[in-house]
Amino acid sequence: MAIRERLSGNEAVAIAIRQINPDVMPAFPITPSTEIPQYFSSYIANGKADTVFIPVESEHSAMSAAIGASAAGARTLTATSSCGMALMWELLYVAASNRLPIAMALVNRALSGPININCDHSDVMGARDAGWLQIFAENNQEAYDNFVQAYRIAEHKDVRLPIMICQDGFITSHAVENIELIEDDKVKAFVGEYEPEDYLLKDGEPFHVGPYAVSNYYMEAKRAQAEGMKNAKQVILEVAKEFEAMTGRSYGFFEEYRLEDADYAIVIMGSAAGTAKDAVDKLRAQGIKAGLLKVRVFRPFPAEEIAKALTHVKVLACMDRTESFNNECGPLGAEVKSALFDAGCAPKVINYVYGLGGRDVTVESITSVYEELIKIDETKETGAKYRYLSVRED
């Protein structure tokens, strides 16, 4: 029997970590992810987990220690947000290229400036090319479920890549909501033990990690790394299938909500997707064929699958919770448009920047996006393709 609970997103992830009981967690506190190491270190102090917690002096050290621990053969994780992740920058690439399956509980927050502690996706989107798997959650339940699935994906022998499990800062990390937890023993059995083939502390077998690769090897090394990301697609689906058999909760690369026959659709990630579903229902009640596609897996990017799901849409909005400063679109918009181009199908696409620095996303503001899509369809005039939602302007 699932355990009916009410928890904030941070508490839920801390519980998932306790249930998994990894070997090492180096972490440095930063709002809004601070509660994760805080709750989890209290579990350790109370004897509910025997993870080695390393209170490091910076995020650079946190990721460095995580890399060392993971290379040594330990199941490793950390938690961070925003500027904290930015300080890990070079190490993110080191972790990925050394194929170390480290898990990161990333609580998304705006990356300065002006200084802001609230949610947007500028932290994670900046690291989208670092070689980490990136999975997003709409609510506390998904953040928890994604974390339970994380190591199965990251540690798979065909993948061997670090993974970011993202949730929206404050909006889900600090909101108490209903959740169904899985029993400890079931989580343990699902995640299993970490048994890497080779690791630094393996008795009697010297092992060398992090070599220098000259030009004659570097491209081959990167191509091999890309293969891990490619293989991850199949593994993500397999793990999701097993997870569904255990919990009844179904996950894929993305969720389609009333999209099947939609004329007007948005592509969106994170907590705003839930708000958008309510907007879709209201529009549907008025006879408007609205739908949405919520991206769960951003890395690897399921381009073909997304394009296929959107072929029939007349006008589409790509919703980016970050700026890309290319004067054209955000990162999600760029990936979706490129996928549609390759698939040879071309709904009209409008790109929106929304929700920066915690700007509230409401049913009304999302509804206004659909209204603009309808207007484009009716007037056949696209107008500005790159727009800001809920911004004050003259």
Binding site: I117, E138, I171, V176, E177, G274, K277, G358, D360, T362
Partner: protein, 190 residues
């Protein structure tokens, strides 16, 4: 009860409005509801006006926005009435509950012509009498439960007893005072 009840809390940093919103989510959860309890976060400064929210529903809640048209508003500190538009967007079929020593008649003129029901409670008096200290949380929680009818009073008291027993397991002496504050608030609300 309606399908969905939305509540907005106004308080000052350090008064426990956030904690009260989380406690309300807790007790409503205890009666089988779907709940949300969340504060509006910013720099945390003692004394600055803060807002917290609750959604309580029989169905799963998907919306993750703040609440702009609440069914109920709780004001934990009446000094906020001069600084904050506490009745903004408040439904007139709803109600506002204010912690104040003043009489309702004195308070109503500050509510910008709000047409719905107005309730007042002297949470300081209740808290000092029951606990010997000023914790406006508990009396305000009881007040909003009574006003909103989210649950039967008896069920609420039972849930809270249970919750306090859990929360104050190491200092059971405060349980009785807190329960007394709840009961007093339920009867003193005007």
């Amino acid at each position: 009860m309606k399908d969905l009840i939305e509540i907005r809390w106004h308080g000052r940093g350090g008064q426990g409005a956030k904690t009260a919103a989380l406690l309300l989510a807790d007790v409503a959860f205890g009666t089988g509801k779907y709940v949300q309890g969340f504060p509006e976060y910013g720099p945390e400064r003692m004394g600055a006006p803060i807002t917290a929210y609750n959604r309580i529903s029989d169905k799963a809640i998907r919306v993750h926005s703040n609440i702009y048209n609440p069914d109920y508003v709780v004001v934990v500190d009446d000094s906020l009435l001069d600084d904050v538009d506490v009745t903004k967007g408040l439904k007139k079929e709803g109600a506002i509950v204010i912690n104040t020593e003043k009489a309702k008649e004195e308070i109503i003129p500050k509510l910008k012509g709000y047409e719905g029901k107005v309730y007042v409670i002297d949470a300081r008096k209740v808290s000092i009498a029951a606990l010997g200290k000023y914790f406006p949380n508990t009396p305000m929680l009881a007040s909003i439960v009574k006003v909103s009818g989210i649950m039967e009073e008896e069920l609420f008291l039972k849930e809270m007893q249970h919750s306090f027993e859990h929360k104050f397991a190491s200092k059971p002496e405060v349980i009785e005072g807190n329960m007394k504050a709840l009961r007093m608030a339920l009867s003193e609300l005007a």
